[in-house]
């Protein structure tokens, strides 16, 4: 009988399509974490002394947290303790290309299979890609074209070599290593990531994107992304992620820092499809990520859009610190949990400047035994006169074994602030499915239509090229579940 529950189950049981492993020779550090490993990572990258020192300070801070047993446990997720000494902190393909043409054919094929061509042409002609494979960036396209406009788009490692002052000025300025347990760990061991600088008054003419791929086993991925939009600049950036299917869990602990100066806009979109584990909940990525943007300048704007369908556990709160007067923060999120996936995600909007505005639209979809938590904070500081926030958190349940939870935190120290909060929970009912099927739609199409309808306010925020992908992905991730 096609009840929502067992349709969800069928959907859920579809296979993860990106679960293959690339046969490429990689240099992998032995498992374990200590100062020596950090020195080796830093040396591998030929880093300046100040950066090594920064890493070591972060490591010592993190080690102290470990000693104090201060690994965060407040999120609404459960997992066995992580053995940080069993993880490898660096893995990189042995052959390193000097230019795009030299990219290892196996790696090139990998990205092709993932739908990310590393050629500067054709299908994604309007998108520049930085491809991060395990711990390193293996290719960045359209660098030349962007450079003509003064836009820097390169791997983090290269930025450290070529633009050390910029990196030094902004690294850790939004997410200091003392921010939280996983940010500290990332600061100690991060190996690569993307770096973007858009100069004054420049509107970046193409989407910039980073595609993260975990390939090596028993390896964590710790990347760092830093985006700076100078006065009046505009940039739209997108990241995608996938990983092979493995029975053990793998840790991905990234940090993303955004800085928007006067009148600058940064639009940051994520389509996260890390391996979610199998239907029994074996394996999958632990996605423990710190993302934060600072609207430093007046009239600046940072907009986060995320479609989170993968990972065994997702723990992330892309946030905005609204410092500049009239600055705007936005958070649009779709999070799907299926099988035994768990997500605890949301945002923080910290209003400091006058007339700052923020919008939060969160859509949680739970199927199978999935657990989906929205956790969001809106904080209005004294002096943020005229600040406004609108929050909307909707949950959609498919089946009766899953759960949805909402934890909004509101802190207001400014009497002129205006806040609005709305929340709904709904279910796809057997009646709805029957009605759709009576009109000739298959149950899966019906589910996918209802889910996409549920998420449309978020999906329409995605860049055109990716909105269609995201819609398909939603369909796939709920295939065999209720749509």
């Amino acid at each position: 009988m096609a009840t929502p529950t067992n349709i969800i189950e069928e959907l859920v049981n579809r296979e993860y399509r990106y679960g293959f492993v690339t046969p490429v020779e990689e240099e992998v550090f032995p498992p374990g974490l200590n100062e020596d490993i950090i020195r080796r990572i830093s040396a591998k990258k030929n880093e300046p002394e100040w950066l090594l020192e920064w890493r070591l300070r972060a490591y010592r801070y993190w080690a102290k947290l470990v000693e104090e047993g201060a690994e965060p446990r407040w999120a609404n997720v459960t997992y066995p303790p992580i053995d940080y000494q069993a993880i490898c902190y660096y893995a990189a393909p042995k052959r390193r290309p000097k230019s795009l043409d030299e990219v290892d054919p196996e790696i090139r094929r990998t990205y092709e299979r993932l739908g990310i061509p590393l050629e500067e042409q054709e299908r994604l002609a309007g998108v520049a890609v930085d491809a991060v494979f395990d711990s390193v960036s293996v290719a960045t396209t359209f660098r030349q074209k962007l450079a003509e406009l003064g836009i820097i788009f390169c791997s983090f490692s290269e930025a450290v070599q070529e633009y050390p002052e910029l990196v030094r000025k902004w690294l850790g300025s939004v997410v200091p290593y003392t921010d939280n347990f996983f940010a500290a760990l990332n600061s100690a061991v991060f190996s690569d990531g993307s770096f973007v600088y858009v100069p004054k008054g420049v509107r970046c003419p193409m989407e910039l994107s980073t595609y993260f791929r975990i390939n090596a086993s028993q390896t964590g991925q710790f990347e760092r992304t830093l985006i700076i939009a100078d006065e009046g600049a505009y940039v739209s950036y997108l990241e995608g992620c996938t990983a092979p299917m493995r029975d053990e869990n793998q840790l991905h602990a990234a940090v993303v820092e955004l800085i928007a100066l006067d009148n600058a806009t940064i639009k940051y979109s994520t389509v996260q499809n890390w391996y979610p584990g199998d239907r029994e909940g074996r394996g999958g990525i632990y996605n423990f990520v710190t993302k934060r943007g600072k609207c430093l300048g007046r009239n600046s704007k940072i907009s986060w859009t995320q479609v989170e369908v993968g990972s065994a556990i997702t723990w992330k709160y892309p946030s905005c610190i609204l410092i500049g007067d009239n600055s705007v923060g936005e958070f649009y999120s779709v999070a799907v949990t299926n099988h035994y996936q768990q997500a605890d995600t949301g945002t923080k909007m910290i209003h400091i400047g006058k007339n700052t505005r923020s919008t939060i639209i969160s859509k949680g979809i739970s199927a199978g035994h999935g657990q989906n938590t929205y956790r969001g904070m809106v904080k209005i500081m004294r002096g943020a006169t005229g600040a406004r926030n609108y929050s909307q958190c909707d949950s959609l349940l498919l089946g009766d074994k899953c759960g949805a939870h909402t934890f909004p935190y509101i802190e207001v120290h400014e009497p002129t602030a205006q806040l609005e909060h709305e929340a709904t929970t709904s279910k796809i009912s057997e009646e709805q499915l029957f009605y759709c099927r009576q009109r000739g739609l298959s149950a899966e199409d019906a589910i996918s239509m209802i889910v996409n309808g549920f998420c449309k306010e978020v999906l329409r925020e995605l860049p055109m090229e990716f909105a269609v992908e995201a819609q398909k992905l939603l369909g796939i991730s709920l295939e065999g579940s209720v749509g």
């Binding site: 709805q432 029957f434 009605y435 449309k456």
Partner: protein
């Protein structure tokens, strides 16, 4: 008549939650015919309609249903719909977030595909939808709104008829589509039904009132009583029921059971 019935139900018995609701229904509907099914509340009219449309919450205890000569019961609801069975729901279901237009375009295209017709693109479909909306006097703003979401009772019924005219079914089952309608709406619904009438199609009207039958003349009227068809007749039967209620039928049944 030597033609094959479009719908043939033989001794259909249906249970839900262990309780028998349909207790042996036998009925044949031929192409071109309009049948009306009347009966008191709870007699099983909607159950019959939903079983014919493929609702899976019911348990078929016994019996057989042939649609155009083929065994209907193993078919999924969507397959039945694609083959031309349409049910206008007594309580149309709300689907928030999905626009009526988008929903119906998908529905019309699955049916067209089944019939070997090319799919309609957004512009073509919009033109068709506007034309049909005019026919049933459906407010165009309802096209853009989510399916039945916040529609008034009458708007929902009108939307069902609108969908029917778009999908052009071979067998339309209308479950109390005339209930809760004002006089104008009733006339419009009747227009929609009459426009669908065709020698190849058949219509089953479930209704409590003979007023719809003033506009749509049925070939046969059946009385469903406690899960059985206890009486069939011409359109006069509807008038008689309206006049006398169902009590006399109950007495007839009891009488015949005694004799």
């Amino acid at each position: 008549m030597n033609r094959r019935p479009l719908l043939e139900i033989r001794n259909l018995r249906v249970r839900i939650n262990g309780q028998e609701i349909l207790k042996g229904i036998t009925l044949a509907v031929y192409p071109g015919e309009v049948h009306s099914i009347m009966g008191p509340n709870g007699s099983g009219k909607s159950t019959l309609a939903q079983v014919l449309a493929g609702r899976e919450v019911y348990e078929i205890v016994e019996g057989e249903v042939l649609y155009d000569g083929e065994d209907l019961l193993p078919m999924s609801p969507e397959e039945r719909a694609r083959r031309g069975i349409f049910l206008a729901f007594q309580y149309p279901v709300e689907i928030p977030g999905v626009s009526n237009l988008y929903f119906l375009k998908a529905a019309v295209n699955t049916v067209r595909k089944q019939r070997g017709l090319p799919e309609l693109d957004a512009m073509e479909f919009l033109a068709l939808a506007r034309e049909k909306a005019k026919l049933v006097e459906l407010d165009e703003s309802l096209l853009q709104r989510a399916v039945n979401d916040g529609f008034s009772g009458g708007e929902k019924k009108r939307n069902e008829i609108f969908q029917m005219t778009l999908l052009e079914p071979r067998l339309a089952i209308l479950d109390e589509t005339d209930s809760g309608l004002d006089i104008d709406a009733l006339r419009v619904v009747a227009q929609g039904i009459n426009a669908l009438r065709h020698p190849d199609r058949a219509i089953v009207l479930i209704t409590h009132y003979q007023r719809l039958l003033n506009y749509v003349t049925p070939d046969v009227v059946h009385v469903l009583y406690d899960g059985r068809i206890v009486k069939s007749g011409g359109k006069e039967l509807a008038l008689e029921l309206e006049e006398k209620g169902y009590g006399w039928i109950a007495e007839e049944i009891i009488g015949s059971a005694r004799s």
